[in-house]
């Protein structure tokens, strides 16, 4: 035994010596080592070259796809698609390496080349390659097939892959937004549930406006929506399957239910149930129909939102007087207040990547949209205005949408997006007024 231990120690020592000797030259060649801790954050200049197409129709589709890619990239604020008129190389092809010197001249850092082909079976085949202009490396290259009526999605998917490759984050272009479409005068607004692509195209109405609908929320697979509707006279939470168009009331509660949201795994819906002047938070298991009560206060507890791991819930409550945000465990235990700034906090939403909670904050005369860490620290305001409300996260947790209402008899709500940094605020295209946006998770391919 003793000998063995000794042998082991000798062996260890030997290994150490060998390793030391092996790596000695590294030390001997001590290099200058310099820290670069600051950069120059700016939109990446990117050139999306004209995609090739064999026939005239192919070429038309190709240029449309290119437009979608350019609009997506520009809309993110992280890219600066260069003007195609400035391009020197006009014959860039997926089959050959681009002339990098030509692209360097126009200061492109990356160049996208591609090809679109309409197949006889009413599908579209799209190929692309993303090149790093400076190192001359291909960063990514893929091809996609899609039904030709969904051609815009090809553009979104390509934009997503470019976004991911250059920023490291998952893209959010191939996603949808559900919202409340509002038409008519302020006194007689017709509110319809609608769904569209995140860039405002392919709009579709899901309800016809006979009843008031509010707070649509996507399920984790993006094929289900839950929302509140007055369809049966009393406000109720509904569940709508987007593929089949089937809808049903969630649970069988005596009073009104509102502020629904899916659990991250989609198995449950969490919502508020009215009880006299109070409201408490319940979950309903969609498979077993079992309801679980999570809060018992004599207060209005509402707007619950799960953390992405499903272990905690953030919600708003007026249990201490004014509306504030609280975080509790998924079983309702350990509720703790997290918002301590001036003003009232409401509509909390946990970021899909878990690091932040977005909220609406009301101070006299203004509504702000902000984010804070789940422990309540690091509060940051992203935007403010007369009436901002209802933040919703992009699936990558980097961009938020919300709605902003303008005052006056002719005013109305519009949907905007803003970057997590507070920059790049943009209005989202809707046919008329729009409110209560809900950003879908990434649509599966």
């Amino acid at each position: 035994m003793n000998n063995r231990a000794r042998f082991q120690r000798i062996a260890q020592f030997f290994v150490f010596v060998v390793l030391a000797v092996l790596s000695f030259p590294l030390v001997a060649q001590a290099q200058v080592e310099i820290d670069i801790t600051e950069g120059n954050v700016q939109a990446i200049p990117i050139a999306v070259a004209a995609f090739e197409g064999k026939t005239f129709e192919d070429q038309q589709s190709a240029s449309q796809v290119v437009q979608v890619i350019q609009a997506d990239l520009a809309g993110s604020g992280l890219f600066e698609p260069l003007d195609p008129l400035s391009f020197i190389q006009k014959d860039a092809s997926v089959l050959s390496v681009p002339k990098f010197s030509d692209w360097r001249v126009i200061k492109a850092q990356a160049v996208v080349v591609g090809k679109v082909e309409r197949l006889p079976d009413r599908r579209i085949k799209a190929q692309y390659r993303l090149w790093d202009v400076f190192s001359g490396k291909q960063l990514s290259g893929e091809q996609f097939f899609i039904k030709d009526e969904n051609w815009r999605r090809v553009g979104h998917v390509i934009a997503d892959t470019i976004y991911k490759r250059l920023t490291g984050e998952t893209g959010y272009f191939d996603t949808k937004v559900a919202f409340i479409d509002e038409t008519g005068g302020k006194k007689r607004r017709v509110k319809r549930l609608a769904i569209m692509d995140q860039d405002g195209f392919n709009l579709r109405y899901l309800t016809q406006g006979q009843h008031l609908v509010l707070t649509p929320r996507f399920g984790p697979k993006a094929n289900e929506l839950t929302y509140m509707s007055y369809e049966s006279g009393v406000p109720r939470v509904y569940l709508l399957n987007l593929d089949t168009g089937l809808k049903r009331v969630v649970g069988d509660f005596p009073n009104m239910t509102f502020a629904p949201r899916f659990s991250p795994d989609g198995s449950k819906i969490i919502m508020s149930l009215q009880d006299g002047g109070n409201a408490n938070i319940f979950t309903l298991d969609l498979a077993t129909k079992k309801t679980t009560r999570l809060t018992y206060g004599r207060s209005i507890d509402t707007a619950p939102s799960y953390s992405p791991d499903g272990k905690r819930i953030v919600f708003e409550t007026d249990r201490e007087g004014s509306k504030q945000l609280y975080v509790m465990n998924a079983d309702g235990s350990g509720a703790k207040r997290i918002s301590f700034g001036d003003g009232r906090y409401s509509t909390p939403v946990w970021s899909p990547r878990g690091d932040l909670i977005a909220f609406t904050k009301q101070i006299p005369g203004r509504f702000l949209i902000g984010v804070m860490k789940p422990d309540g620290s690091g509060e940051r305001i992203l935007t403010e205005g007369y009436h901002n409300e209802g933040p919703t996260w992009a699936p990558n947790g980097r961009v938020l949408m919300f709605f902003r209402e303008t005052p006056g008899a002719r005013g109305g709500a519009r949907i905007y997006s803003v970057d997590l940094t507070g920059y790049n605020e943009r209005r989202i295209r809707t046919p008329s007024w729009g409110s209560d946006p809900a950003w879908s998770p990434r649509v599966n391919k």
Partner: protein, 291 residues
């Protein structure tokens, strides 16, 4: 009368003796009071270079002060001298008394020896070189110990060595100087802070890191690049750290490589080519992350 005279003489003698004695002690003390501060006007780059070498030198100076051979010398200058001119006497500007004697030949000779040793040692295992960041740290420590040992031991030997070796003293590894290391071969000069700053600024300008991602850890990129004498890039920069192959790290690594490509050629001092021909850049956008 006589007695009085004798007494007077004795007293005066005593007084004189006392005075003499006290006067001599005063004299002896005098030089100790005056401690001159050697001053020299150097440009910033020299100063910054010196820092690297200073750690060791002043200590030597003090220990050898007993040695009364006044060889005026400037340790600082010797450090960056390239040509073999070991005994260049430099007049310190503000130095009046106490020429701060340093036994220079010894000190200088001492340095080259470890250099030689190392140089001899290096070539052997070279073919096996592979970037292994972790072992490196360990070895640095080891090396340091070794070096001390060598120096003390070899001091005696060195006296016998004729004064013909390379004179530029090597900047040994310093505990404080991790970022800019002196060249172990003792031939070259470290880059000064101002030169590094200029270079850093040049790279920063072109660096567009993908901030906003989750893990700041992922965004750290260690890049090794080799440069030509005209400051242009020689071959692809190599990424030395892997961030678990996360997409964030990949994007960050690409952004760093892009910055390096985009901003070349670099304005670097040609005479220090050996120092910067092969270097490592640590990209870390820690100062830029928000939230």
């Amino acid at each position: 009368m006589k007695l009085g005279l004798i007494i007077s003489m004795v007293f005066h003698g005593c007084l004189l003796a006392f005075a003499l004695f006290s006067l001599t002690t005063a004299k002896a003390l005098k030089p100790m009071e005056v401690k001159s501060i050697p001053m020299e006007i150097v440009d910033i780059s020299e100063l910054t270079k010196l820092k690297a070498g200073l750690k060791k030198a002043p200590e030597k100076k003090e220990t050898k002060q007993k040695d009364k051979k006044p060889v005026a010398k400037e340790i600082k200058k010797a450090k960056k001298k390239k040509k073999p001119a070991p005994k260049r006497a430099v007049q310190p500007v503000a130095e009046r008394q106490d020429p701060a004697p340093v036994k220079k030949p010894k000190h200088q000779k001492k340095e080259p020896k470890p250099v030689k040793k190392k140089v001899a040692k290096k070539p052997k295992p070279k073919p096996k070189v592979k970037p292994k960041p972790k072992p490196k740290a360990k070895i640095v420590k080891k090396k340091r110990k070794k070096k001390k040992f060598n120096e003390d031991k070899i001091a005696a030997l060195l006296n016998k060595v004729p004064d013909s070796g390379p004179t530029a003293s090597k900047l040994p590894d310093l505990p404080g100087a991790k970022k800019v290391k002196g060249n172990p071969q003792g031939k070259h000069i470290a880059m000064s802070i101002s030169e590094i700053d200029a270079f850093r600024r040049q790279v920063s300008q072109c660096w567009n890191p993908p901030v906003g991602g989750l893990g700041a850890e992922d965004l750290r990129v260690k890049l090794r690049l080799q440069l030509r004498k005209d400051g242009s890039l020689k071959g692809q920069p190599r990424i030395l750290n892997s961030g678990g192959r996360s997409s964030f790290h990949r994007a960050a690594a690409d952004s760093a490589a892009r910055a390096v490509w985009q901003c070349q050629p670099y304005n670097l001092p040609a005479r220090k080519y050996d120092t910067w021909k092969d270097m490592i850049l640590n990209f870390n956008p820690r100062d830029m992350l928000r939230g």
